[in-house]
C-alpha cells in the first residue's frame, strides 16, 4: 500500500511553523521531537574494518504535524545499549549536532524503516552528537504529535475488509484503524538462529469485526502496547503487514519495522469508532477465551492447598494482579438453581464459532462467525449444549458468588450430559439439586485474578463432590 495522500489532508494548526528546509550551516544544532517508532539495537559488519562490527539503533522522530524523519545512532556496543535503554516510543528526545544526510533516492533506505516525508535522515554518532530525554516545557506540544495522523484519515482497511479480501491481501502492507480489545501477555520466543524475540498478540475490534489479531514482534512495540487501555484506545496502524495464517486459518496483521502507531487520532472516523467500542459488550467472548484455556486439563491431584472462603476471597482482592491460583475448599453450595430456567444452567453454543446463542434464538449473533456475512436472524445454526452455570459457596467465614462450573465438571456432578439433563422432568432435576444444595462439598477451585484488560476475577470450579465430613475438618485450622 503506497502513500497516496497529500499533506493538504492535514488541517495544519496556525500555531505550527510551516515546514522549513533543514538548516545545514548551524554549528550547534538541536532537534527535539517525539519518538514515533524505534527498533532494537543491532550490529552490522563494518566495511572499513573487516572483522569488526558496528552497533546502531534506529528510530523515527517527529517534530511537527507534517515532519518526521528517520534517525540512526552509531557507536560502540555499550553506548548503543545505553541509548537504546534511554527512551522508548512516545518519549520526547533532544538531539544535538546530528549529521544530516540525504536519503538515497531509490527508496532502498526505507525498505525496512518507516516511510518519512523528509528528504533527509539523521546520523547520530557517539563522538560528535548527543541524545537525551527532553527536559523543556513544551511537552504537550510534542506529545500531541503522537495523535496527528500521518496518512489521510480515510486511508485504511476496516477489519471486515481484510477478512473479505482474504488471501488476495496476503503479504500486503495496509493501514488499519481499530480499537484495542485486549493486549495479550508478551511471550519470549527464540528463533532457529538463536535470536531472542518478544511476541505479543493484540486483539483489535471495529464495527465490522469484534476480534482481529495484530501480532507485535519488537520489544519496543510490546512496551508501547502494554500502555494501551482496552476498549478505550483507538489506534491508527500505518503500514502493517497482513497475511493469511495457515495455522490459525484466518487473516492476521503483523507490525513490522515500517509500522507506526498513531494513538487516538483526532479524526471523525476515530471518534465514531470510539463511540461504537463503548457500546460493545465483549464479556461473553472473554468467557469463551477462558473456556478455551480451561479445556487444557489440570491434574487435580497436584492441587493440595486448602483454603476457607475467607482466605480464598482474600486472594481475589483487586490489589492482586494477574495470574491464577488453584486450591481446595470445603464449603456449602448455597445457590444451585438447576431446576429453574434451563438458560441459566445450559449454554447453547454455535458449533462453528462457539459463541453463545442468545436466549430463545436459533441464529448466531456473532459477526465473525465463519458462516460469514450470511448471518441474519432468520438463519438457524447448528448448536451444541453444554452446562454453564454460576454457583454460590458459603461457609462459616462468608460466601463467594458467581463461581462458574462448566461442561464435564457439571456432567460428573449430575451424572448426565446437558442433552440428557434437558429431557429430565422437574422432579428429577429437584432431586439432583438437593444432592448438593446446602450440603458440604469438596471443591477444587481455580481463581484467575483480574488483569488490566479484564477487570473481573474468574472463579472456576474444577470438581465438586459431597465432602467426607472428617476430611473437611482440615478447613478449620
Amino acid at each position: 500500500m503506497a502513500w497516496s495522500a497529500n499533506f493538504d489532508d492535514f488541517n495544519i494548526d496556525d500555531n505550527w511553523p510551516s515546514p522549513a528546509q533543514p538548516q545545514l550551516d548551524f554549528y550547534v544544532q538541536v532537534i527535539i521531537g517525539v519518538v514515533l517508532a524505534k527498533e532494537e539495537p543491532r550490529a552490522i559488519p563494518s566495511k572499513k574494518n573487516p572483522g569488526t562490527e558496528l552497533y546502531l539503533v534506529s528510530f523515527t522522530l517527529r517534530d511537527s504535524p507534517v515532519d518526521f524523519i528517520n534517525a540512526t545512532c552509531w557507536g560502540n556496543e555499550l553506548h548503543i545499549q545505553q541509548v537504546a535503554e534511554l527512551f522508548h516510543i512516545g518519549d520526547i528526545v533532544e538531539i544535538c549536532n546530528a549529521q544530516i544526510a540525504s536519503k538515497p533516492s531509490d527508496g532502498s533506505d526505507e525498505r525496512f524503516r518507516p516511510w518519512t516525508p523528509s528528504l533527509y535522515q539523521l546520523n547520530i554518532s557517539e563522538n560528535h552528537s548527543t541524545v537525551k530525554l527532553y527536559g523543556g516545557w513544551s511537552v504537550d506540544k510534542y506529545y500531541s504529535l503522537q495523535s496527528i495522523p500521518i496518512k489521510a484519515s480515510n486511508d485504511f482497511y476496516t477489519l471486515g475488509d481484510i477478512i473479505a479480501n482474504g488471501q488476495n491481501l496476503h503479504n500486503a502492507v495496509v493501514n488499519l484503524l481499530a480499537v484495542v480489545r485486549s493486549v495479550g501477555s508478551p511471550k519470549d520466543i527464540v528463533t532457529k538462529n538463536k535470536k531472542h524475540l518478544k511476541r505479543c498478540e493484540v486483539k483489535l475490534l471495529d464495527e465490522t469485526c469484534l476480534s482481529f489479531p495484530l501480532v507485535l514482534w519488537s520489544i519496543e512495540q510490546v512496551i508501547l502496547a502494554q500502555s494501551w487501555t482496552t476498549q478505550d484506545q483507538v489506534i491508527f496502524v500505518a503500514d502493517a503487514r497482513v497475511n493469511y495464517d495457515d495455522y490459525k486459518k484466518c487473516m492476521v496483521a503483523t507490525a513490522t519495522s515500517k509500522t507506526i502507531f498513531i494513538l487516538n487520532p483526532d479524526t471523525r472516523e476515530a471518534h465514531s469508532l470510539y463511540t461504537f467500542a463503548q457500546s460493545v459488550d465483549t464479556s461473553e467472548d472473554d468467557l469463551k477465551e477462558m473456556l478455551d484455556v480451561a479445556n487444557s486439563e489440570i491434574d487435580l491431584n497436584t492441587i493440595t492447598n486448602v483454603y476457607n472462603l475467607e482466605q480464598l476471597k482474600a486472594k481475589v482482592e483487586p490489589t492482586n494482579e494477574g495470574g491464577t491460583d488453584l486450591g481446595i475448599t470445603y464449603a456449602y453450595v448455597t445457590n444451585f438453581d438447576i431446576d429453574g430456567e434451563t438458560e441459566k444452567v445450559i449454554a447453547r453454543r454455535c458449533t462453528k464459532c462457539r459463541m453463545r446463542l442468545e436466549k430463545n434464538k436459533l441464529s448466531c449473533s456473532n459477526q465473525n462467525c465463519p458462516l460469514g456475512f450470511l448471518n441474519d436472524d432468520t438463519m438457524e445454526v447448528d448448536y451444541d449444549m453444554q452446562f454453564d452455570m454460576g454457583l454460590t459457596l458459603s461457609d462459616c467465614t462468608g460466601s463467594m458468588h458467581y463461581c462458574r462450573a462448566y461442561g464435564s465438571v457439571v456432567e460428573k456432578m449430575l451424572g448426565c450430559t446437558a442433552d440428557e439433563f434437558q429431557k429430565y422432568d422437574d422432579k428429577k432435576k429437584t432431586q439432583l439439586k438437593w444432592k448438593f444444595l446446602l450440603e458440604k462439598c469438596k471443591l477444587y477451585i481455580k481463581v484467575t485474578l483480574p488483569r488490566f484488560d479484564r477487570p473481573n476475577t474468574l472463579t472456576r470450579i474444577l470438581d465438586c463432590q459431597v465432602a467426607n465430613p472428617q476430611e473437611a475438618l482440615v478447613n478449620q485450622r
Binding site: E310, D395, C396, S399, T430, N468, Q470
Partner: protein
C-alpha cells in the same frame, strides 16, 4: 472531613451469608446479629415429637431437642416432601430462626450421617471462632 473518616475507618467486616454449625442455644445467640449478617444454621438434634401439619396446612412441623434445649421446627414442602423420619433419630437440619426466635424454619432436613456425628463439636467450635471474630469487627465498625 469526608476523607478523614474514610482514612480511620476500621476494616469492613465481611457481611456475606454465613453458614454456621450450632447448637440450638448457639443459634438463638448468634441470631441476634442477623440484622448485620445473613445467617443460615446447620443444627444436629434429635427428633422429639410426632410430625404434624402446620396450622396453615401448607407445611410440616415437629420438635427437636439437643443436650440443652428444644425448638419447634417447620418445613414447607415447596419442591419436595419431607423425608421419612423416625422419632428419636438424630437429624441434620439447615435453615434459619424466625424473627421472634421461637421457630426454626428448615429448608433441608435429613437423618444425620454416622461420619457427620463425629465432627459436630469441631464444626460448632469453628463456627463460634469465626462468629466471635466477625462480631468484634462489627462492633468496632459501629463505634
Amino acid at each position: 472531613e469526608a476523607v478523614d473518616t474514610k482514612l480511620y475507618k476500621p476494616v469492613q467486616p465481611d457481611t456475606s451469608l454465613k453458614i454456621l454449625t450450632a447448637t440450638i442455644e448457639g443459634m438463638k445467640h448468634w441470631s441476634q446479629y442477623k440484622k448485620d449478617i445473613p445467617l443460615i444454621f446447620e443444627i444436629y438434634a434429635h427428633l422429639d415429637s410426632a410430625i404434624s401439619s402446620t396450622p396453615d396446612n401448607l407445611g410440616k412441623t415437629f420438635e427437636m431437642k439437643d443436650c440443652k434445649q428444644r425448638i419447634l421446627c417447620t418445613f414447607y414442602e415447596i419442591d419436595r416432601p419431607l423425608p421419612r423420619l423416625i422419632r428419636g433419630q438424630l437429624l441434620r437440619c439447615v435453615g434459619s430462626l424466625n424473627n421472634d426466635g421461637t421457630t426454626f424454619k428448615c429448608v433441608s432436613v435429613r437423618p444425620a450421617l454416622d461420619l457427620e456425628k463425629k465432627v459436630i463439636q469441631q464444626n460448632i467450635a469453628a463456627a463460634d471462632r469465626s462468629m466471635r471474630k466477625i462480631v468484634a469487627q462489627i462492633k468496632k465498625s459501629q463505634l
